[in-house]
Symmetry: C2
Subunit: 226 residues, 2 copies
């Protein structure tokens, strides 16, 4: 009984900060993606490829969350000048206030897209609104086909789901029919994209999704202000 | 400021239940391992092989934690008659009270070893004492070599670390020197075992570790009671 109101308070606080983030992003005309997946599912490698490809097309900022080290930010800084590392000091997810502090270090008015790479964790980050326009959930083939069934919340809340590391299909047991059946049982209409950040297969589809996403958000904002 | 005392309360409660578990396990003469790793790092497959091999040698009970589904318990029940599934209903880790409830469903006095397969999460489960004799941390090759550096707490607290899926080394970029260097920088003396639950390589070493672990705990208990 004692910890229920506490969780509500924490989430209430978080939601207030998330709304501030949402307002700041909207005012600056920035679309925001919150990328969520297990440790080592391939988030950073996909972002390396993404940032390299989008150079000169979009102005992108990245905030990357980790418990420790600045390794992801260092990797991404090779392809993007606006990268911030948020170290949670043991915390298992990014919260909206941490992202708010991170956003202050970015030239928001100069960006089209903010990508938040959450802490590697398929569970806790899902529950914390950061003010993003869409959560993107990432599974990966070596994790096994049972992950959607075991982690239904990311399936329910994602604007897009990625299945990464499809190049490893020949080397691991992965029943795609089970994966897809579970996914569709939880949520029939969720968009799924198969790709390999390592080989590059399917990465163009993800780029096109990002292009449509940014264009759609721009149109929606224009419609709201006219 | 507001949530710090709350966390302390939660952990204090947890520690009380963990001590009750520890007392119950000691009284029943059961050694207990708390297996922690990312979603899909291979915990359940390793336990399938473990339970099959240990049949007739040890009397083993398993409690397996998940957010949703009873799939892991169903898989393990093929090799072990004392398997319980704990569904956390969204919770990102097992706590000591959940394990306490799970233990009540097992014939503790008839067991030598209790294996707790924690929720797939490399972060939150580490902070919650379940009353185990040892935490065993599991990394896997496709997660990448940077995982010890990013998740130092499991390295600091584990009685044994496993690196699973070594059969995938030829197919993914994994710098073992970086992995080992980071590991040893965090904790020079931690025991590391490389294995593949899928191919069976190295699994015998893990079995031998379990044998030594159970024997050592039995000796320690005998020394305490004489």
């Amino acid at each position: 009984m004692t910890d229920i109101p506490v969780v509500e308070n924490v989430l209430k606080h978080n939601d207030e900060f998330a709304q501030l983030n949402r307002d700041a992003l909207r005012a600056a005309g920035v679309s925001c993606v919150n990328l969520i997946g297990s440790p080592g599912c391939g988030k950073t490698l996909l972002l390396e490829k993404t940032l390299r490809s989008l150079r000169g097309e979009f102005r992108v900022g990245v905030l990357t969350g980790d418990i420790a080290t600045t390794r992801d930010a260092e990797r991404l800084a090779a392809y993007c000048e606006h990268v911030g590392q948020i170290n949670t000091g043991g915390g298992c997810h990014l919260d909206a206030n941490q992202v708010r502090q991170g956003m202050k270090a970015l030239p928001l008015a100069d960006l089209d897209l903010l990508i938040v790479e959450n802490v590697g964790n398929l569970i806790c980050p899902v529950g914390f609104d950061l003010g993003q326009d869409a959560k993107v959930g990432m599974f990966s083939v070596p994790e096994g086909a049972d992950k959607p069934a075991k982690h239904p919340r990311i399936v329910l809340e994602a604007g897009l789901l990625l299945l990464n590391k499809i190049d490893l299909m020949p080397y691991v047991p992965f029943d795609f029919d089970v994966f897809l059946h579970d996914l569709r049982s939880i949520r029939a209409d969720v968009e799924l994209m198969q790709l390999s950040a390592a080989s590059g297969d399917g990465v163009d589809d993800w780029m096109d999704w990002l292009r449509r996403f940014v264009a759609m958000k721009k149109e929606a904002r224009a419609a709201c202000t006219t």
